[in-house]
């Protein structure tokens, strides 16, 4: 297990993916659970961040420290825990008292290390489903069974299940103090408290903002600080409502990758449920994606990915619809244009075949994506 991580980190260092290498080293050191290694990883991260901040070239000092730490890590051994069921949702439904909206029965399961994406258009029930799962909304029918919680009262559920809403409640005081506090109420005291807060700040790239206040940081950083805060409380299930909404494209990618790594942490594996409009980004990292439409779950990638009956691709090109029909064969495909790109559906040709035909016919393509297995197909 450790060899896989070490080779992964070495590869990142070799190909100058230093940011990723530092983050993975932090993860691995936390998994090994040795304070001196975690401290070294934190120090390495600080060196890296200083270098980036000063817009300097990566120093030999950093590379030496990174290689030394990688070597130290390779001497350790860690055992990956087996995946365990965290929450089982069976036929859960919810109707608001005003009757304005109904979430139809939905079922799914989340295990440790799993990431569940919930996608759908605005106002279709994603937040309602997430809040029911977090114990924030009373459900009308069905069950939400938190299998890892021994005495599943709502307090225990809310202690174990962290929910990050789209609009994060304001923090007061120094951001770092809030993190120390969250760790302390999760029984992480004294030196361990310092270590874990420093770790989380470095892991989420927040070190430079630790002594700032809520008003001094952007909404993207607020989301990251909130993630850091709840992670310090070691939840077994992390639920995030639209966490990517306030993030730039790079930050989205970083957060999703981090969530992937954190979910599969060896020291503290957890399940992650997140809702988002960023379908492709979510689909890339999620083990299962639920598509919610008008309060009903119409598609789950885990269950139905093998049941597709048509191949669908998105295409952006300067070529006209007639040209495309000519190349792909009229009658074989259905082409829709939304003003920006074409959505091409075919029951006979796979996406790869259609791409090959377009390339060989020298059709100029600026954007292409195979959405055969994506929930994107359900957005109209």
């Amino acid at each position: 297990m450790i060899n896989h991580h070490v080779s992964e980190i070495s590869s990142y260092l070799q190909h100058q993916d230093y940011s990723l290498a530092v983050r993975r080293l932090l993860d691995v050191c936390l998994d090994i659970n040795k304070p001196e290694l975690i401290r070294k990883a934190i120090e390495l991260s600080r060196i890296y961040n200083r270098t980036i901040k000063d817009k300097q070239a990566i120093s030999q000092e950093f590379l030496n420290a990174a290689n030394e730490l990688t070597q130290q890590v390779s001497a350790e051994s860690i055992v990956s825990p087996s995946s365990e069921l965290l929450v089982s949702v069976e036929q859960v439904s919810k109707t608001y008292r005003s009757g304005s909206f109904t979430l139809s029965p939905v079922s799914f399961k989340v295990a440790t290390g799993d990431i569940l994406g919930v996608v759908g258009e605005n106002g279709n029930g994603k937040t309602t489903l997430l809040r029911c799962l977090a114990g924030q909304l009373a459900i009308d029918t069905g069950t939400v069974n938190h299998t890892q919680i021994k005495e599943p009262g709502y307090y225990a559920i809310k202690h174990q299940v962290a929910f990050i809403p789209q609009r994060i409640p304001r923090w007061y005081g120094l951001l770092k103090d809030n993190l120390h506090f969250s760790a302390a109420i999760a029984d992480v005291h004294a030196e361990e408290n310092d270590l874990m807060v420093d770790f989380m700040l470095e892991r989420l790239g927040l070190g430079a903002y630790a002594n700032y206040t809520w008003n001094q940081i952007s909404s993207g950083y607020r989301t990251r600080f909130e993630i850091a805060r709840v992670l310090l409380q070691k939840p077994s299930l992390l639920i995030l409502d639209e966490p990517l909404a306030n993030l730039d494209i790079n930050a989205q990618q970083t957060i999703l990758t981090d969530l992937r790594f954190m979910a599969k942490s060896i020291k503290h594996p957890m399940g992650v449920v997140l809702s988002s409009q960023q379908l492709h980004e979510v689909e890339k990292i999620a083990d299962n994606v639920l598509f919610i439409k008008r309060g009903s779950c119409v598609f789950q990638t885990k269950e139905k990915s093998k049941e597709v009956n048509a191949y669908v691709l998105e295409l952006e090109t300067v070529a006209g619809r007639d040209d495309l029909l000519r190349v792909l064969g009229e009658g074989n495909v259905n082409i829709q244009f939304n003003g920006g790109f074409y959505t091409i559906t075919s029951t006979a040709q796979s996406a790869q075949d259609m791409l090959n035909k377009l390339v060989s016919s020298q059709v100029s393509i600026t954007y292409f994506r195979d959405i055969t297995y994506s929930t994107k197909r359900f957005f109209n």
Binding site: I139, Y155, H189
Partner: protein, 505 residues
């Protein structure tokens, strides 16, 4: 440099608490406590160095008003700082004692802030006590009265007032004047006498200057003229002040009469005037030791007995008595009654405010303000009911107990509820708020009922039942606070935890 070091120590302590004891940290006991105590010490120092002549009229009410405003501002500032960081609303590992700990910390901080206005008067009293000992005051006042009596021994009346009293127990404590002339030699000059009962007579005999028993039921009581030219209205406090195991007492008119006036003395007038002048200037900055009069015009004491007015005007004793009043007013401010009022002010204000803070931190903002609204509405409605209902002494107590039971039942529903209900939240908040007052309500109800029951009996028959009423009331006041603490650590803690964690509908 020193300030920086102090700030650094506070900061280090703050960080230590934050990482090791987040519950205490969240109450800001360390900062609010330190700054409150620091301000109290600063205030004590300022009060100590501020110009304040113990002889001058106290302006302490201005100080109290100013410091009370500062106290209120400090409380508001602390509230803003405290309440926006609503710690309980973060789910974590909370111990049952955490509630009690936070409540006690709130109580201590608020009590310190509430106590600020008491500091200037305490310091003023301490300064007055340091400047003039009780022994010194009594000795000087006696000396002044003796010297005035000596100087005025030829001009002041020496005839005692005579009053005749006949025992008649049918008057039942009402002193009744009668006019028929008595058939005995020593009848009163003004030809009237008084009918009084035995208890009243006993009281009069105790304070009489001289008594003549005519028959077993008729007494003539002689009252010495007033020779206490220098006097202050708080002189009764001297009885409690002791010096070298001897009770200090202000010489009464009778004492002065016996010492000075009973037998005429040959005196050295110049020496006495000189000594009196020194004493006058010690207490009055306006007096001239040579003339024994004040440079300022004094208020006339016209209306008093003629000789009193004359002598007080002659020596301008108005100023002396006024300055003495100012000194004793400051010295003897903290009697038992005042102390009892003061601790209750601090206790109840701190209790109510700390309960409000505690409730706010355990409930949603909406439910908190709805609870306040409900409390106001219920108070008005209940007041109307009590006012319109047929006369019943116990209505208030019965309504209060009924509400307490109702809130208890509604709060109990929380344990079986599937979702967070605002009604049960309000009931729980009001239940918590009423808890410390319930023992007092029940004790008052008990004694009121007892009083009603024995209303038609002679007081002596049931007097013993009320012997310990005040003590029981005191126990109830303290017991209420203890009951609240006990329930906060157990039932209330569970109920709040459960209610807040419930999902919304």
């Amino acid at each position: 440099m020193e300030t920086k070091r102090t700030t650094s120590i506070i900061k280090r302590f703050d960080q230590h608490l934050l990482k090791n004891n987040p519950v205490s940290w969240s109450t800001r006991i360390h900062t609010a406590g330190i700054y409150s105590l620091g301000f109290a010490l600063l205030l004590a120092f300022i009060s100590f160095i501020a110009p304040n002549d113990p002889r001058s009229k106290s302006i302490i009410h201005y100080w109290i008003t100013l410091v009370a405003i500062l106290s209120l501002l400090a409380f508001i500032f602390w509230m803003i700082y405290l309440l926006r960081f609503n710690v309980f609303k973060r789910y974590g590992t909370w111990k049952p004692t955490d509630n009690v700990k936070t409540f006690l910390f709130y109580f201590i901080i608020i009590a310190i802030m509430i106590s600020w206005p008491f500091i200037p008067p305490i310091v003023e009293s301490a300064r007055a006590n340091a400047a003039y000992s009780t022994e010194e005051l009594v000795t000087d006042m006696n000396a002044m009265n003796i010297k005035i009596c000596q100087l005025e021994q030829d001009s002041i009346p020496k005839r005692f007032r005579k009053d005749t009293f006949q025992i008649d127990n049918s008057v039942k404590g009402v002193e009744t004047r009668r006019y028929p002339k008595y058939d005995y030699d020593d009848a009163p000059d003004d030809e009237h006498y008084y009918l009084i009962d035995t208890a009243q007579l006993r009281e009069k005999l105790r304070s009489a200057d001289s008594v003549k028993k005519i028959t077993d039921s008729i007494y003539v009581i002689y009252t010495c003229p007033n020779y206490q030219f220098v006097y202050d209205y708080m002189s009764w406090n001297y009885d409690y002040a002791e010096n070298n195991n001897e009770r200090l007492e202000l010489l009464s008119s009778m004492d002065l009469y016996r010492r000075v006036l009973q037998n005429r003395q040959a005196i050295d007038k110049e020496k006495i005037r000189s000594e009196l002048g020194q004493l006058f200037t010690k207490y009055s900055p306006y007096h001239d030791p040579a003339t024994l009069t004040a440079s300022m015009e004094s208020y006339s004491t016209y209306g008093e007995s003629q000789y009193l007015s004359r002598i007080r005007d002659r020596y301008d004793l108005y100023f002396i008595n006024q300055q003495l009043d100012h000194i004793t007013d400051k010295k003897f401010r903290w009697d038992e009654e005042t102390f009892e009022i003061c601790w209750r002010v601090v206790y109840y204000i701190s209790l109510v405010l700390s309960m409000l803070v505690l409730i706010y931190r355990h409930t949603t903002r909406r439910t908190f303000f709805l609870s306040l609204l409900a409390a106001v509405v219920l108070t008005i409605v209940t007041g109307l009911f009590i006012a319109m209902a047929p006369y019943n002494n116990h209505s208030f107590f019965m309504w209060t107990i009924a509400y307490f039971i109702l809130f208890m039942v509604l709060s109990a529903l929380i344990f079986n509820s599937r979702y967070r209900n605002v009604i049960s939240g309000i009931a729980l908040n009001l239940l918590v708020f009423m808890t410390p007052f319930m023992p007092l309500i029940i004790t008052s109800y008990y004694y009121d009922s007892l009083r009603d029951k024995y209303d038609n009996y002679p007081y002596k028959q049931y007097e013993h039942l009320f012997e310990n009423e005040q003590l029981h009331m005191f126990y109830s006041e303290i017991g209420g606070g203890l009951l609240l603490i006990l329930l906060l650590a157990t039932l209330y803690q569970m109920a709040y935890k459960k209610w807040f964690a419930l999902p919304e509908q």
